[in-house]
Structures are given as structure tokens and as C-alpha cells.
């Protein structure tokens, strides 16, 4: 037999490339739209940033569905009184530099957020906590100013940092040099290019399958899709619906989706003069709307109608709550009753963000088109995001404005007190009875009574119609076929749960 070097080389090459991936090498690349803004877990409120620092740092526990908490650094928690809460910490947990994690670290983390000099943006996350006690290294007690149904410190993300390490370094250093208790440690951060993490060999929990993870931001959605198709990345976020069919039929790509915690709605600014101050008009416009048709035609079916002010997968949502249906005749008769027969005399501006939410402007245009069918004239105006939110907080945006709201604790409280109560920063509606009901719910310790209070609140909101009720998004991700991973509705990505397929 003749020696054939070429064939031999080819065989070698094939066998080399075909070698199954060794577990020690399993590496995953994740592409979100933006880079992290900091690696300090106590400053940001930005979900893509949480998705990176959340691999390095851990919380006491995190919400995982209505009324469900997954323990992380705390092993148990109990209520000692209406205002007093106790957390028992996991023992033998070490930060990646070897420092033990104790109650002092929890106290430090909360105090650091509250320290005005640190200029954290997370102040509202811990606002209820007025006192922190640490009777022993593994016990923390939070006191709140008023009785609270929800445990403080779990309402929003609260990551625990190493007090000793933080006291030893200045803030600028801590922005880029994270030390946490989590399953991953920082390897490098090249801004706008990549954040690379390696597995933490001393992690207290089971060792993850992914040994190395790269967060590589790609701002443009079409480019994210291309990068996944060329195997430059393994998970991409915020996939526009028009790419779904390409990605599903791809040889190496697949879709993953989940019902989001984020709801989208169009609020009426009832503080500004105009026909939207009339309840009958607000009800009429809700009856004029065909939400399923918008979902089907604008979002390719990738959303879920929400009949009330509370997302359907949250504690407090009442499945029996009354809902508006598409009923043009009823809409017209309500308009006539309100003094606007055939919608004559109603000329409203619908303020819309532009590109903040999936197809936001297009949704507003569809809404305007549907309202035109009952004779109501609506003009869509797009807004630049920063200005928009600032003006909404000043209650200056109206008479109608679109906003999305996502809160990760799967509890009605975070929704209604953020966007509906009259003192809420994003609310433009006043209903004292609604306020009274949801504030009572916040302090109600009996779960069944609390549920009943939210049912009542939903009935009030249905009747008074502060919004055009729209839907909850479906979050669309695309993933490489070489990995197995389930997305979560709160937009967080837990790398330690990713497995090779």
C-alpha cells in the first residue's frame, strides 16, 4: 500500500475536529444588545448588566414565580413580626477571594446602597428597610417602617458583596474588579467588546457544566441573528419576530421563548384636561380595541392579552377579573353617552417610545387605526426615551402614552405601586379607592385576604379604565443547537443551568 500523506493529514484533521468536546472546555457565548455598565452589583438597575454580575454575585434568594422564592445565600427566612424579618444565612460560603460570607456582608450591602455618597441607583430596592441587625454571623434581621406582606430584600435584586474587600478598595476599583460568592469569577472585561468569566472552582453549589462564558454585546438585532447563524455566539436576546422562521429552520439554530413579566399598556393622562378625563370615553376606547388582532398582525402572535392591570402570571392576578372585549357597537354607544357621538370632537395624541419595546411605534399606529374605526382621531407621536421617561415622571406626557413595565418579583405590589397609585412616579391617574385597596394589600399578611384585595383593585381599575389594556410580551431568544437552556420570564440568564446538548 502506498503512503498517502494527504489522506493521512485529512483523516487526522477530521478526527481532531470531531473529538467530542471535553467537559472542561465547555464554553458558551451570550449576546445581549448592550454591554454591562458596571461590574458593581450595587449600582445598576439595568437587566443586561444584572445578567452578567448575577453570575458572579448572589442574592439572599430570588423570586421564581408567584409566591415562590428560591433560596440562594439565605437558607430560610421567617417573619418575626409585621415589620420584622429574619434570614438565616448559608454556612461555609466563601467569596472567591477566600473571605467567608457572613451577616456583616449583608448589612454592608444594604448600607452601601443607602449611602448617598455611593450614588447607587438601587435606593428604591431597599427603601423599606429602616434597621438591620446581625445577632450572629449567620442571622440577619430587617426592620421595615410599615408592615410588609413581601419580604424586604427579596422584592428586587439585592446582591451581597464582600464587606472586607469593599472597605479595602475605592469605588472606581470596585466597578471593574468584582469578587462574589457566585459560580463564576471575572476573567476580563473589554468594554463594548466582551466580558469573560471562568468557573469558580470553589463554588459552594454543584459545579456548572459551562466552564467559561463570554458575554459579547451586539447592538444591532439583525447582526445578532447573523452572529448566531455563523456560530459566533450561542444565545441571543430580543430576537425580532420576523427572524423566527429563519432561525427555527436553521441547521444550527433554534428558538426559545417564554411569557415575559413585562406588560405593555397605553395610559390615559387623567391629570391633563381633555376627553380622556371622562371615564366613559376611556371605557369606550377599550371596547374599540381589538388586542388579539394587534398581537397577531404586528407581533406575529408573540404576546398574551392581559385583561387587567396585573400580569397573568403574577400573584394577585384575578383570573375571573372582568375584561374588555372588542365591541364596536358598545364603544359607539358609550361615546354617544359621553357626549361624543361617532367620536366627533375627540382628537388625542398618543405618545409612543421609538424602539424601546418590540415594535412599539407600530403597535401605537395599529391602535390609532382601530380607534379611527369608531370615529376617534388619534395622532401617534414618537419620543426619545430619556426625555420621555423624565417627562412621564413629571406627569407631563399625554393625553395618552405607551409604557412597558416589568418587575421580577411576580407580585402585584411591584406593578400597581410603580405605575398606578396616585403617588407612583409613572402614574397619571388618581383613584383614592384604588390607592387605599392596594396599600392595604401591601400590609396584609394573610395571603387570601391580600389576593381578595387585589381582585377588588382590578375591578376598580376595570371600571375606571386608567389604561388601554394591551398585553404581556413573549420574550424571544435564539439559541445554538449545541446547548440546552430554558429562558426565564424575568429576562435573567442563569449560566450555571446551561448544559451541552
Amino acid at each position: 500500500m502506498r503512503f498517502r500523506p494527504l489522506a493521512l493529514a485529512a483523516t487526522l484533521l477530521v478526527s481532531l475536529t470531531a473529538t467530542p468536546l471535553r467537559a472542561a472546555d465547555f464554553s458558551v457565548t451570550i449576546s445581549q444588545g448592550v454591554d454591562v455598565d458596571t461590574l458593581s452589583p450595587l449600582r445598576t438597575t439595568n437587566t443586561p448588566t444584572f445578567n452578567v454580575v448575577g453570575q458572579i454575585y448572589e442574592q439572599l434568594g430570588y423570586p421564581d414565580g408567584p409566591g415562590k422564592m428560591v433560596p440562594q445565600l439565605a437558607t430560610s427566612w421567617k417573619r418575626l413580626g409585621p415589620n420584622l424579618f429574619e434570614f438565616k444565612l448559608r454556612k461555609n460560603v466563601k467569596f472567591s477571594n477566600g473571605d467567608p460570607m457572613t451577616s456583616d456582608d449583608v448589612r454592608f450591602s444594604v448600607e452601601k446602597i443607602k449611602d448617598p455618597a455611593y450614588r447607587s441607583t438601587q435606593g428604591p430596592y431597599v427603601r423599606e428597610i429602616v434597621k438591620i441587625e446581625t445577632p450572629d454571623p449567620y442571622t440577619v434581621r430587617f426592620t421595615t417602617a410599615t408592615p410588609q406582606a413581601l419580604f424586604p430584600g427579596t422584592r428586587q435584586r439585592l446582591y451581597i458583596v464582600d464587606a472586607k474587600y469593599w472597605r479595602a478598595h475605592d469605588n472606581a476599583y470596585l466597578e471593574t474588579n468584582p469578587i462574589g460568592t457566585g459560580p463564576y469569577v471575572i476573567k476580563s472585561w473589554h468594554k463594548d467588546e466582551s466580558v469573560e468569566l471562568d468557573v469558580n472552582p470553589n463554588y459552594w453549589g454543584p459545579q456548572p457544566a459551562v466552564k467559561h462564558v463570554v458575554f459579547k454585546p451586539i447592538p444591532d438585532a439583525a447582526s445578532r441573528v447573523a452572529a448566531l447563524r455563523t456560530n459566533e455566539t450561542d444565545i441571543i436576546t430580543n430576537v425580532p419576530p420576523q427572524y423566527v422562521s429563519t432561525l427555527v429552520s436553521g441547521r444550527t439554530t433554534d428558538m426559545a421563548s417564554v411569557k415575559s413579566v413585562r406588560i405593555l399598556y397605553i395610559a390615559f393622562n387623567t391629570l391633563q384636561p381633555g376627553p380622556q378625563q371622562n371615564k366613559l370615553v376611556r371605557q369606550a376606547l377599550n371596547y374599540a380595541l381589538d388586542v388579539p388582532s394587534i398581537i397577531k398582525n404586528v407581533l406575529g402572535g408573540r404576546a398574551y392579552p392581559v385583561p387587567s392591570v396585573i400580569p397573568t402570571n403574577f400573584f394577585g392576578f384575578d383570573p375571573h377579573a372582568a375584561a374588555y372585549t372588542h365591541d364596536v357597537a358598545k364603544s359607539k354607544s358609550l361615546l354617544a353617552k359621553a357626549g361624543y357621538p361617532d367620536g366627533k370632537g375627540i382628537d388625542l395624541v398618543l405618545q409612543s417610545p421609538n424602539g424601546r419595546y418590540n415594535r412599539d411605534k407600530e403597535i401605537c399606529e395599529a391602535v390609532a387605526g382601530q380607534l379611527a374605526l369608531v370615529g376617534v382621531h388619534v395622532t401617534v407621536k414618537t419620543n426619545e426615551w430619556t426625555n420621555y421617561t423624565t417627562e412621564i415622571a413629571k406627569k407631563q406626557v399625554g393625553p395618552m402614552f405607551m409604557l412597558g413595565w416589568g418587575i421580577t418579583n411576580y407580585d402585584a405590589d411591584g406593578v400597581v405601586t410603580g405605575i398606578l397609585t396616585s403617588d407612583a412616579p409613572n402614574s397619571a391617574w388618581v383613584n383614592p379607592e384604588f390607592d387605599k385597596t392596594v396599600f392595604a394589600a401591601r400590609a396584609e399578611l394573610d395571603t387570601r385576604k391580600r389576593q381578595a384585595l387585589y381582585a377588588k383593585a382590578q375591578a376598580i381599575a376595570h371600571e375606571d379604565a386608567p389604561w388601554l389594556f394591551l398585553f404581556q410580551f413573549e420574550d424571544l431568544y435564539a439559541v445554538s443547537k449545541r446547548i440546552s437552556w430554558q429562558p426565564r420570564g424575568d429576562e435573567s440568564i442563569d449560566v450555571k443551568l446551561i448544559k451541552p446538548r
Partner: protein
């Protein structure tokens, strides 16, 4: 010449001071970012407290004085989003943008200029036709579309080149071509026009009549005179490229100052935007001086007193 340079540089400082003031006021008049920085369910009081901690509640003039004072010390302040010095963020991104800009400059000088010359020598030939079509497409097709087409063809379709991020020559080709395409088209047209004009002059006819080789006629006589407008255009174009190719950097996830600027504007990260604008202005001013100096070298009739 030296006196001229000094005068120009002094004038440049005045220009930069003006730019610094204008960008400061325009940015601040668009409102501060307190409401988007702090957690979305923050109350009015919490937003106000944050605004106070950041110093946004001070009168604009007071903020300007402290900003201008910092500038005189070479300090443009800390990024609001990253809590690190804004100048460092800009300088960190500059090499990536330079890499891209130099690649595009290479395309301009090595492809566009020769193509423009050839197309001028043989007007209405097949080469001329191709060059003109390229120039037309390059000038009229949006960068975004060209970038995506290149990605689909060479990245997704053929699998030859990576489509996102930075790292070596392979990563540079697609964004470099995308960025270079528009500028190259412009330079191609300009070279062609400038050459056509020069080729029709009497002294070139003389040069050809006295029996010079055609190559020497074109290179030594025609191109030398046609250079001036081309150099000006290339200089300004290069300044534009260096100031951050916003769209190209976004499509190809290229970590340059264009992307930094966009994110800075979206976040109202004042010091970062001010840093990018000042850096860009400085580059523009320097390139202008450089173009003037190049003039003198190219055309012996131009002398600066």
C-alpha cells in the same frame, strides 16, 4: 511656516473652547438622566435625592463653571454610567476606531484614487462604466444595508469572515469595507472629475506633444495638479471616519467611539458625550492643519507667511 502653524494652533484652541461650550449647553438643555438612571419605581423624592447627589440640581451656569474648570486641568469628569473617567473611556475606544478608519483610508487611497484615475483616462470605457456604477451605489446605498448585505454574503452565506466583534484582520475586513465603501465612492468620483479637468488642459497636451511617456504625463503632470482637491477631500473624509463610524460600529459590534457616543447620548452620559465630541473636534482641527501643510508640499505656489 512656523509662525503660520502657531497661529493656526492658537486658532484651533479657540475653536475647541467654543465646541466645548456649545456641546455642554446643548446636552444639558435636553434634560438630565436622573429619571432613567435610578430604579424605575423610584418615587419623586428618590429621584430628587439622586439628582442632588449627582449635582444636576445646581444652576446650569454653576455646572458649566465646574466643567470648564475641570477642562482647564484636562479633566472632563467621570462617566455617569460607568463611574470611571470619561476621557479614559474615549481613549480606550479610539484605537478600534483608528483601525477601522485606517483600513477605510487604505481603500480610499489604494482602490478609489487609482480607479478614479483610470476611469478619467478612458472615459466611457467599460472600466469607467464600472467605476461610475460603483460610485453611484456607494454614495446612494445606506451603510446599514451595505453592511448587512456583506454580512449575509461573506458571513452567513459563504462563511468566510466573522460578522461581529474585533480581533485581527479577518474581523476588520467586513466593517472596513462597509465603512470604506461610502468614502471610496466619493473619492472615486472626485478623482475622476479632477483628473478629467486636468487632462483637458494645454500643458498636458504640451507634455504629450513633446513626447513624454503617457505614464509620466499622467503621474508627474496630471495627477500632481489634480491632487489638491483630492487631498482636501481625503483629509476631511478621514476626519469623519475617525470621529466614529456610528452605523458601521453598531452593525459589526465594533467597540469604537461611535458606539460609545450613541450609548452616551441615549444614557445622557454628559461627560462621555463631551469627551467624544471634543476628541472628534480635536482630530478635525488637526487634520485641517495637516491638509494645509500638505498643500504647501504638493503645490510650490502655496506658501504660508
Amino acid at each position: 511656516m512656523l509662525a503660520f502653524l502657531l497661529r493656526r494652533l492658537a486658532g484651533s484652541l479657540a475653536v475647541l473652547a467654543g465646541v466645548a461650550a456649545v456641546v455642554f449647553f446643548i446636552l444639558h438643555l435636553t434634560g438630565d438622566p436622573a429619571a432613567i438612571m435610578v430604579a424605575p419605581d423610584a418615587t419623586k423624592d428618590e429621584i430628587a435625592a439622586f439628582r442632588h447627589a449627582q449635582g444636576f440640581d445646581r444652576p446650569l451656569v454653576v455646572q458649566f463653571v465646574s466643567y470648564a474648570g475641570g477642562l482647564l486641568h484636562g479633566d472632563i469628569g467621570k462617566s455617569l454610567r460607568h463611574e470611571t473617567p470619561a476621557l479614559a473611556l474615549v481613549l480606550e475606544r479610539l484605537p478600534a476606531t483608528m483601525e477601522l478608519a485606517f483600513f477605510a483610508l487604505g481603500v480610499m487611497l489604494l482602490v478609489a484614487v487609482p480607479a478614479g484615475v483610470v476611469s478619467a483616462i478612458k472615459p466611457n470605457s467599460a472600466v469607467d462604466w464600472i467605476v461610475r456604477v460603483f460610485a453611484l451605489v456607494g454614495q446612494s446605498a445606506p451603510t446599514y444595508w451595505i453592511g448587512l448585505m456583506l454580512i449575509l454574503l461573506f458571513g452567513v452565506g459563504l462563511g468566510w469572515l466573522p460578522v461581529s466583534g474585533i480581533g485581527g484582520l479577518r474581523h476588520l475586513i467586513l466593517p472596513g469595507l462597509t465603512l470604506g465603501f461610502f468614502s471610496a465612492a466619493k473619492i472615486m468620483r472626485l478623482t475622476r472629475a479632477s483628473m478629467l479637468e486636468t487632462l483637458g488642459t494645454d500643458y498636458l497636451r504640451t507634455a504629450a506633444a513633446k513626447g513624454l511617456a503617457p505614464v509620466r504625463v499622467i503621474v508627474n503632470h496630471a495627477l500632481r495638479n489634480a491632487w489638491l482637491p483630492i487631498v482636501t477631500a481625503v483629509g476631511i473624509e478621514f476626519g469623519t471616519l475617525l470621529s466614529g463610524a456610528i452605523i458601521t460600529e453598531n452593525i459589526f459590534a465594533w467597540p469604537g467611539i461611535g458606539r460609545l457616543a450613541v450609548q452616551g447620548v441615549l444614557d445622557r452620559d454628559f461627560p462621555v458625550v463631551e469627551g467624544v465630541v471634543l476628541m472628534t473636534a480635536t482630530i478635525f482641527v488637526l487634520i485641517n492643519v495637516l491638509v494645509d501643510v500638505t498643500y504647501a508640499a504638493l503645490d510650490p505656489r502655496i506658501r504660508y507667511e
